[in-house]
């Protein structure tokens, strides 16, 4: 179970401020923050707590089981962002 962020994200980072497990990235100040088109939730870390959904000013966050059809790509996209990130981190290390 996880939440996912859809393409209507405006990157205002209200979700990052409230996430108790720090699973939303990239964070302001991270090297990939400015170029990111949206924020993503790491499905391996998300504890399904709902705090980000409440905080999002544009309702861009959905539970994985209830994502609108137009955002059906979002679950894979969020997961892929972290899969690539960990590859990049491994390569850099």
């Amino acid at each position: 179970m996880t939440y996912v962020i859809a393409g209507s994200c405006v990157k205002d980072d209200s979700c990052i401020e409230v996430c108790p497990v720090d699973c939303i990235h990239p964070k302001p100040g991270a090297p990939d923050f400015d170029v990111a088109e949206q924020l993503y939730i790491d499905p391996a870390v998300c504890i399904d707590c709902d705090a980000c959904v409440e905080a999002c000013p544009v309702d861009a966050i959905f539970p994985d089981f209830d994502t609108p059809e137009k955002f059906d790509y979002a679950l894979d996209l969020n997961a892929e962002f972290f899969a690539e990130r960990s590859t990049a981190e491994r390569t850099a290390a």
Binding site: G7, S8, K11, D12, P57
Partner: protein, 456 residues
Amino acid sequence: MPQARVAIVGAGPAGAFAAASLRRAAGAVEIDFFERLPTPWGLLRGGVAPDHQEIKRLEDTFHRQTLARGVRFLGHVDVGVDLSHAELMRHYTAVVYATGAQTDKSLGIPGEELPGSWAATEFVAWYNGHPDYRDLEFDLSGQRAVVIGNGNVAADVTRILTLPIAELERTDVADHALETLRESKIEEVVVLGRRGPAQAAFTSAELRDLGRLDGVDVVVHRDEVQLDPISRQWLEEEGTFTARKNVALLREFADREPSPDARQRITLRFLRSPVAIEGTDRVEAIEIRRNQIERDDEGTLRARPADAPAETIACSLVLRSVGYRAVPLPDVPFDERHFVLPNEGGRVLGPDGTAVPGVYAVGWIKRGPTGILGTNKRDAEETVAALVEDLRGGALPEPEQPGREAIDALLAERQPDHVTVEGWRAIDAHERTQAEDRPRVKLTTRDELLERARSG
């Protein structure tokens, strides 16, 4: 010392984030928005595409964090015309400019001034019901439109030209635009990108949307999504997550077969620049040439003209979207090279490079036209931190006329029709109640807006 008072010029997203941030950082400071239009929230109302209503929900947050917390709205007041910068400085402890980037860059090619050739932002302002653009007449009676540019505005105008009318009817698109779009005869929208697929500035979300429009084929030529060696290396070594997604999406588009019952077609062309717009009395065609990607001395990938014959595309409408520029504000320093207010962390600098006490900038007029809505939040926090530091450090002298009554008296004289928060609430409530299956039905002339505001 009496209560500090701050004027924010421009009630768009940058101004709204600045007011909200200042409210949080220094709750007792009095804040007034000065806005040229009778309505607040700038590009959230007049720029964000009508089919992206979810993004427009940000207006609720803006309202809650500013107007509902005592920030005053003074709309239909043009700073530089109705009130001068010097007058604001006489009445406020600090003035924050949040005026955005109001003009578009031109292509600098022959024929650009022909009827039928427009800035995409004019089309955007028209379909979003901006009162200064509602009387523009877009001729959609031809079969092909050409959109120049690969950013989010290019994606928006392409989508608005191809969205099923039934979907558009459920949005807050301006009624005059809905009428014109309903009669549109445009069958194909060709989108030209100067650089290649790996460098396209679309977000992958925007690109994906173009490929999912009901009854619309998206066409990409296979040879134009083959990456040249320089772009391939760049994508592997430095490419962003979005750039890799875009290339994958474009390859998927290139593999699609045309649908026999498609209503319209979007053709995405890459490595193509316009050379001239042709036509006798109006736009009839556009001449384009091929580019190739080269790496310049600084390592940046650039499009350079390739040795190839020019190509002519017949079209009746050209919308250019190749960047924006701020315009200078009367009596405020301006950086003519970068088209921003010269500033350091939001403190506006004078010709000698030192900060002009009490003058700040936020948003596009501060950093140039980059980033998305949320980018303004951190930008605003930086400017507000500087302002609060100056305020608490005693760097801001008390203005000559620090009371609210003085500015109100001046406003009553200069712009007696100015719109207050009550006026805006009356406009907002009216627009929402007029709508049945729509989020709102916009009032689109100043007269209608002002008349409704007076009823509030």
